[in-house]
């Protein structure tokens, strides 16, 4: 059964980010397809992880990595591109004169009409509902799949797009006869308190938006199989959207009861759960509780250990050491050395023997550093994770113990991906980092 996550708005993106981090750390398994739907910017760490996944591609399919089927991250930004404010989009004019009559005034307040959409929807669900069509191929579900929408009911994007998105997905299913699609939702009620002064009439509007969207879901969503609601009784978390947009070392929740972690657990549960039948009544489709997985303490341990092994591997310039070593398999193990040799041979094929023999180890080391720390405007992978606690000393045997992917004779390598100077080195660096994060341990 294939799995699809639709992360709607800022809340959906944060839950997806945590889920992607857990996937990279080997806490949750792939593959899955993730679609980010937001009028606002994509969180930088999600973009960073997406770039890593692209560099992991080994075969002709996007999901084909060495030893792993990758998740796919796609982005959909509903935006008409014809204006920045609702006034522009709906009337074609930048502003409406104070006494100018126009039908839009019957539906939206002046404040809402002047809201700059490039800065977000600010908990105004009605605004997102008039944005452009949601009939994009990226939303087409696969047959025999579970699709989970994640997002806030009170946020502008989540609240406004949740129902239209479900409708779009269902339309595909019916129109194209796609069988056996289980549509589910992780819906966040009011779980955070907006920053003081950021939204006017905040709390009141949150509650009314939540009620409005829940009623819409109840009335319109006969196609929704099941759902789980996070929060909903009041704000317990303070969010800083600017910090979220900056997205550097975005911290993890401290406890399982935090709404974001609860959302991650609900997402993992709904993606995998298969026993529940679709209830006839809407209220029968709600899950009152979900499994306590992934466990936050275990996840923190994985985070700390994986990042430490990765940091040490890069800092010690392991590839250069390995390239000059005669006790190769004794120190590093045949798994790692065969993997490096394989990519090195590809580099020889595509870039020429003399050049590859001299430069390959240095190129890989350089690529590892750039991937981890970033280069120029591109963020490094270390910024996509929170800063972990130190866990212990990393020894070479910890690198040796990683179960590196085995190479198969006649494997489906797409050499076009490796064409061009440095491509083999970059893809090897991505592969090494990926497996260190997923399997690096300090035992």
């Amino acid at each position: 059964m294939s799995r699809m996550i639709i992360a709607v708005g800022g809340t959906g993106q944060i839950v997806l980010l945590h889920y992607l981090q857990l996937y990279l750390l080997g806490v949750v398994e792939g593959p899955f397809r993730a679609v980010v739907v937001d009028t606002d910017e994509i969180l930088p760490p999600i973009s960073t992880i997406s770039r890593l996944l692209e560099q992991l591609q080994y075969g002709s399919e996007k999901t084909a990595a060495l030893g792993e089927t990758l998740p796919v991250i796609e982005v959909m930004r509903p935006n008409t591109q014809v204006g920045e404010t609702l006034t522009e989009i709906l009337t074609g004019n930048r502003h409406l004169e104070p006494f100018e009559k126009h039908p839009v005034r019957a539906f939206f307040s002046s404040e809402t009409l002047e809201q700059n959409l490039m800065r977000g929807l600010f908990a105004r669900p009605a605004m997102s509902s008039v944005l452009s069509s949601l009939q994009e191929d990226v939303l087409r579900p696969a047959a025999n799949s579970t699709v989970v929408l994640v997002g806030s009911l009170i946020g502008g994007t989540g609240g406004g797009l949740m129902v239209p998105l479900c409708d779009a997905l269902y339309s595909y299913q019916v129109r194209e006869g796609i069988d056996d699609v289980k549509l589910r939702g992780v819906f966040f009620g009011q779980y955070f308190t907006p920053q003081a002064g950021r939204l006017e009439g905040d709390v009141q509007r949150f509650r009314s938006s939540q009620l409005c969207v829940l009623k819409s879901i109840q009335e319109a969503l006969h196609m929704l199989h099941s759902f789980y609601i996070v929060g909903g009784t009041g704000g317990t978390v303070e969010r800083d959207p600017e910090e979220e947009k900056r997205g550097v070392n975005f911290p993890w929740p401290r406890s399982r009861s935090h709404p974001f972690w609860e959302g991650v657990q609900a997402l993992e549960f709904l993606l995998g759960e298969s026993a529940k039948e679709k209830g006839s009544e809407f209220r029968d489709r709600e899950f009152a509780e979900v499994d306590d997985r992934p466990d936050i303490e275990h996840s923190r341990l994985r985070l700390a250990q994986s990042l430490q092994v990765a940091r040490r591997f890069i800092h010690k310039e392991t590839i250069r050491r390995l390239a000059a070593e005669n006790w190769l398999d004794t120190i590093w193990g045949p798994g790692l050395t065969d993997l490096i040799a394989h990519y090195w041979k590809t580099s020889i094929k595509t870039e020429g023997r003399d050049q590859a023999l001299k430069q390959f180890p240095g190129q890989v080391q350089q690529s590892l550093t750039e991937l981890w720390k970033g280069e120029g405007a591109e963020r490094g992978l270390r910024t996509a994770f929170p800063n972990p606690d130190e866990q212990g000393r990393v020894r070479p045997r910890h690198v040796r113990a990683i179960p590196w992917p085995r190479l198969k004779i006649g494997g489906s390598q797409d050499l076009r991906l490796f064409d061009g100077p440095g491509n083999s080195a970059e893809r090897l660096a991505a592969t090494l980092l990926f497996w260190i994060l997923r399997k690096g341990e300090l035992k």
């Binding site: 050491r321 000059a324 070593e325 005669n326 120190i331 065969d338 490096i340 040799a341 190479l407």
Partner: protein, 191 residues
Amino acid sequence: MREHHHKNGWALALLGLSASLAVACQDPSQVGQVNVTQTQCKQWDDAMVALFHVALVASAAVPLVLAPFLGVLGRGFWFFTAPRRRIVVLSGVIVLVAILAVPAGPWVVGLGWGWLSNVDPLYFACTSQGFGAEGLLYGLISPGQAALSQWPVMILLLIAGAIVGCLVAILIQALLARLFGIRRKLKGGEE
């Protein structure tokens, strides 16, 4: 009980340090007041030169012999995963030990015991008299001069020997890496 052992340990360390200092502070000229024969001086000088030759060979040869095997320790320690660095550091450690053991040995640990047991403490008096010393490297360097007085030359020669040994060890290691390292895997087919 553990505290008692700690105290004993400190006492022994202090004793050793005092002994070294006592030896180092020995005034060789005081020893010269005792009569030593030319035969005795020649005997002690030959023993000293022999020790120097062994130290010189060790400075060059031990890195050559040990370096190829040090990599095994790389399973547990990052330091040993850097091939050249481990050879250079090994050479440095060996030459330091050789210097302390032979050219500096008479002052640091004293004559007449351990590996210097064939060199009497009265050998200090021989530096002020001629006794037909052979010189270092079978007469190539400083013939006629007591080996003890040639300690700066001995140190330089030991360092030179270590550098040569280090460079050859690095070359051997590079050759071994070509034969048994990752380049070997670049030749074969895939598994």
